[in-house]
Amino acid sequence: MRALDAIRRANLPGPPEDSVRLRVACLATVLASIAACASVGEVSRLTAGVAMVLVAAGTVFSHRTRVQPPGWAKVMVAAAAIAAFAWFFHSLTSADVITTIDAPLSLLLTSVLVVHSFHVPSRRDLLFSLAASAGLMAVAGAQAIDLRFGLYVVAWVCFGLWGLTEMWTSSSGGGRMSVAGLVCALAAMSAAAAAIFVVLPAPVVASRVSFVTQAGAGGPVGVAGALAGDSGSPAQLSRSGSPSSRIRVGGYLGFAGSLNTALRGSLATTLVMQVRAQRPSYWVGETFDTWNGQSWTEPQESSRPLRESSPFVLPVPVGAVPVGQADLQTFYVAGATADLVFHAESADELWFPTSRVFYSDDGTIVSPIGLGSGSIYTVESQVNAPTPAQLRSDANEQTLSPGTLEEYGQLPHPYPRVQALARSITAGDTTTYDKVQSLIGWIGAHTHYSLDIPPLPAGADTVDEFLFGNRVGFCEQISTSLAVMLRSLGIPAREAVGYVPGGYDPITDLWQVHADDAHAWVQVWFPGYGWQNFDPTAVVPPSNPSPGATALKDVAGALRRVPWVEVVVVLAGAGLVVLAVRRRRARPATWAARVARDTERAGRRAGRPRRPAETLVEYAASLDALAGTGSTWGRLASSVEASAYGGREPPPEAQRAMVAEARSSRVRRPAGAGVSAGG
């Protein structure tokens, strides 16, 4: 019975809410959340517009009928809510989930907001509106990938806080919050939000239901299945990318069928894509196995089409280990990029907006369309990240097939000097891992990284030129040299190109990959662990940093960039000006005021400041009593009051004399007098 009572009490309508401001604030909050939803494409603009008009109309209606809401309104609201929920569950269970741009959950929340707005008699119902708008904001936020969404968040938060404070005003019988109280509440709220923001770890993608895929502004490329820049059949060797070809992505020339280390690109800083991942990783585009002294080229038998529909289940690449930690990455392409499907090694499932993709045995995935801005795809990878100790132990018996071994040990010509150098560097090392580390250490110590290097002389070998020539290069030269040194030692290695994760945005939880994050590095094969990334020039963090730590680091960096000396100088200058103006204003205008001020100063120095209620004559009398001699101050005070209140001005020389006397006189306590005369 108690439970029943509680339910009945909860269903009792509250008193009608009369505050128009509260309703306006709640309406604004709801409208802001619907607009936010439309801005990220959760609902279409038309739907959002209609919903906003209806919510506004509903608000006016329910304000008009707040005292006695018509019964049919309640029935209509209940029926419409039930219908909305029924539609929602139907569309969840039906086969074609997404037929239009409108997502079911956001449509459901929008329609609930619309329907509910027609029956909002009391304050509690308004609170429900705010809560539902928070839900809508969450749905919108789940799709938001950039900081522009922050504008809607700011608007929604402002309106929502306005609504909440209006709620207090209304529930306290028309109270007024002091400005200080409001500021304190805002500051405390921000502090609590910031604290939880700093404390919480980065969100992870833990569910794998269905992922949104979009083709965006991508378009078909010349030859299906071939890498961008190819002109013939998939089997044909790629042409060297040239600076003028259309596959120049942000100035990087490596995303093609071959990687010519003689070419010098110029990297732009534009945003290429944003990646949501459980942990950062090298986003591999493609790998190369064949080195001809100047260019890397792809494996010969590459690219066969996978004709399934999304999600694509990918075969295990050659040499890869099919077990590891599952890692979901969603790529939001921001600018035109190659037709490579970037991913963390090694991908096993792909949600992609086309009906087929091309797949190579080395793990390279090629899209039939060039990806443009707005393209979205998701990859699930099995990431195998062993510890150094695991890599050092040679317990695993697994080996590559002889053909593959030969493929990844290929050298165009013997490199005796290189081999001798590599042997001397790794003389003391027994395990492959230690050898790789020694080589990386040597390269780090003896070569210089620079993007601005002279062109390769005609006919020269890139590795020889780099290791025994100027020893200056960027990632291509450095990684190629490492790969060749490893191959000369008989260790299987290959060249990989792609992107490093770039910068982490703590608010959107996305890695921002820019054009200059394009990179080339080395993959070394370890028995039992497959291909492992080694990179002499870049470092990838082991996990997503916490948003709070990143934000704090950003703030600290921003503070460090502030020119403190200049700021302090300017502020001090402004303060001095203000002080000077105040002093000027406070300077006494008449001789009488000066004498009065000097009297007060003399008293203050004697430890007897003037009390506000004390008249000057009283004060002067007490100063005379304190000094115990004469009646200097009393005499001066009488003259001052005669001037100030009676307009009795003494002759100018007398005025000057009194000013001088007041300035030079001191209240001298007689020796041994008590000191407890202070006011």
Partner: protein, 321 residues
């Protein structure tokens, strides 16, 4: 002779009158400087005076001395519960020989009216004094009779807690410019008082210091004493502070501010000054305001309110030159 000169002369006369008046009163009232200063202030400012104290401290003597010193006729009304309004204002009598109503002026038609033990009269009678004190005229049967000028009511009242008293209505209290207790004299003065039979002998020998006309012109000169803007604001600030002071139910009225400033003018004249300083306001504030306040503990006399006013004087910032 220019107007300024006339004013200066009048003011000098007023100052001289004030000093003579205080000297004269001192002959009679031994050791009650506060009371006689208050009396002189009321006389110069043209306000009415309320004297509150226990019987036997010389309330009546002070009133008589004041009247005599000012050369004015004194008419005395003894308050008691049976006193009727017409006993104060006068009455129209039907004269059989002329067959006409003849107005017989009451005791209020005098320059100085002493109402003894005012709070023993019932409120009905007290209210008869209201019109005469404010309008300075008597209206009987639709006909107004002006009172002689200057006109001053000196009322004495027993402390309210004493038996057989009717509390004075607030509107009446507000009409008194100044209220003062007399207080017990100190031992030396009391001995002298006892020897001189309470100043009665001195009273008999007292000579007037002026005529009512001179008194009148002194009042006018006092009213013309300039008050600086900041001093007036200070007086108003004190009055306003009484309205929000803790323990006060009803604060000082705007009329109180007017009389505070006029009393301060009179105090300045008594101090031989031709302008008002904040100290004048401070000096008269307690006497001028405390009887007008209605405190939470309504049963007490002026003493309670006086401490409230003193507290306000301690906290209200005085103007700075």
């Amino acid at each position: 002779m220019s107007a300024l000169d006339a004013r200066v002369r009048d003011l000098d006369a007023a100052i001289a009158l004030g000093q003579a008046l205080v000297r004269n009163l001192e002959l009679v009232m031994l050791g009650s400087e506060n009371a006689l200063l208050a009396a002189a202030t009321a006389a110069l400012s043209g306000g009415h005076l309320l004297i509150e104290d226990v019987p036997g401290v010389g309330k009546t003597v002070l009133a008589r001395a004041l009247a005599t010193s000012l050369g004015a006729e004194l008419s005395r009304v003894q308050g008691h519960p049976d006193l009727l309004p017409s006993d104060i204002t006068g009455v129209s009598v039907f004269m059989p020989d002329t067959a006409q109503w003849d107005f017989r002026p009451g005791p209020v038609f005098a320059h100085v009216v002493l109402v003894d033990e005012l709070n023993r009269t019932p409120p009905r009678t007290q209210s008869a004094l209201l019109e005469t004190m404010e309008e300075r005229q008597v209206t009987i049967d639709g006909e107004s009779w002006p009172l002689p000028q200057p006109h001053m009511v000196i009322a004495t009242q027993n402390p309210r807690s004493q038996r057989g008293t009717f509390p004075l209505v607030e509107s009446q209290l507000d009409r008194f410019a100044i209220a003062t207790p007399i207080g017990y004299p100190d031992a030396a003065h009391e001995a002298r008082l006892a020897l001189h039979a309470g100043g009665t002998y001195a009273l008999a020998d007292l000579l007037p210091v002026c005529t009512p006309e001179v008194w009148r012109s002194a009042q006018e000169a006092t009213e013309a004493v300039p008050v600086h803007q900041s001093v007036a604001e200070y007086a108003v600030a004190i009055c306003r502070a009484t309205r929000s002071a803790p323990g006060v139910l009803v604060g000082a009225s705007p009329r109180a501010a007017i009389w505070l400033i006029r009393s301060a003018q009179a105090h300045a004249v008594l101090a031989s000054r031709s302008f008002v300083v904040p100290d004048d306001v401070k000096a008269v504030a307690v006497a001028c305001l405390s009887h007008r306040l209605l405190t939470v503990d309504g049963d007490d006399s002026i003493g309670q309110s006086a401490s409230v006013v003193r507290g306000i004087l301690e906290t209200t910032p005085s103007p700075r030159p």
